[in-house]
Symmetry: D2
Subunit: 132 residues, 4 copies
């Protein structure tokens, strides 16, 4: 299991008329969290893409527990529980400053060759570091 957390300050443009973070933005917060999880696991997604590997999202799921509002400082946590082979499954939990769960969810991503856009295996180094 490999986990990483970071904080995110809710911007005004991420809120809606209800006064809440628009629900679509949590899928974006998941992306921020997995970018930083990957960097911590020694594989920046920018470098990965530069090396010819892309990771399109196959599936995303969000469950909304509590609303979040403008200027709240959220904690975005991403967790990889299983060693990736040709796909990686990542779980997310977003909590507020009171420690309440705002949103939970998950994404599945493929590893593909950028040139051919065909599936491929996760880079060995990345797998080793996640298992580390």
């Amino acid at each position: 299991m490999f986990s990483f957390s970071l904080t995110h300050r809710v911007a005004y443009y991420e809120t809606d008329t209800m006064g809440y973070v628009h629900h679509s933005n949590y899928v974006r917060f998941f992306e921020i969290a997995r970018t930083e999880l990957m960097r911590t696991a020694g594989l920046s997604y920018a470098e990965l893409e530069a090396s010819g590997v892309m990771m399109p999202v196959l599936e995303a799921h969000c469950r909304y527990h509590q609303p979040a509002r403008y200027d709240e400082l959220l904690t975005l946590k991403a967790t990889v529980r299983e060693t990736p082979v040709t796909r990686i499954h990542i779980d997310y939990e977003i909590t507020n400053e009171q420690g309440l769960t705002v949103c939970t969810g998950s994404t599945s991503l493929a590893f593909i060759d950028a040139a051919t856009r065909k599936p491929r295996r996760a880079p060995d180094d990345f797998v080793r570091r996640l298992d580390g």
Copy 2:
């Protein structure tokens, strides 16, 4: 069963470095589709909110089948299969001009009282029209 479809032209700002519609935007396309489904069912969400009822999203799910690119004309289809009581479940299918499925998904939304932010039943008129 109540269905509604409309088209959506992919904007440049909806795409990402991969050259695809960013996966978070499909959750937004679902929202566009259900807004128009509700209007067709005689209950505009704007009027509903003005009358003191809000519909926060409880859960969203997306499965990505095919990428979509800038300027493609997508068809957004929303379907309500079950009569809503205190929640409404909506299914979505997004297809491209070739008729290929780009994305499928679903959302569950609650009906809440805007003043108290407590759950309430779906407005009778809306239920009647969906059952129509």
Copy 3:
């Protein structure tokens, strides 16, 4: 002078806590309007990009006159007043259903070669059609 108008229904995700369309979105609405202006002038931006020409934005300006809210049907109007050479200047006016001006603005875009990312002249066909 070459003008084009289309309508845009304000989505919930385009609003903010103030209950207004977030001001950043007007820059996006300008893009929607110039995409359709270009298509009408016989040069789809998607085709232009496929032919190896890109049009990065050099400058953008917005003046906000009236707020717009969720579900309003806005009219997006784009106007080209001068024949483009290596740059194109486009003016915008966004009005609501009451005919009130919501936002005015302008953008300047360059024509660049996608491969070299160097400036180039506007395609002849496009210039001819704008001059109509």
Copy 4:
């Protein structure tokens, strides 16, 4: 003169097919910068809004100098040069890790009473802190 800088990591969803940060996002980065400038000046915008004052944007201007790409760490700098009375004018400069200017711009915002949506003066405390 009152200045504040913070860093912002470019997210994948902020990029477009050109591989660049979409130009509309700089208007959003300006907002992030002024939120933090205001907090540093002792007046969080969230508290201001809670106290019944809103600050709608009247005008925004952006000049794009260099493209920025996914995962770049940008520095967002906001500067107030003149004491605000009923409006506040803020200048922005966004630079990349090489110290190159990516985008410059400015915004003008009004102070309005949230209840009446009428103009009002900038809160005294805020003015005093900006004048330092």
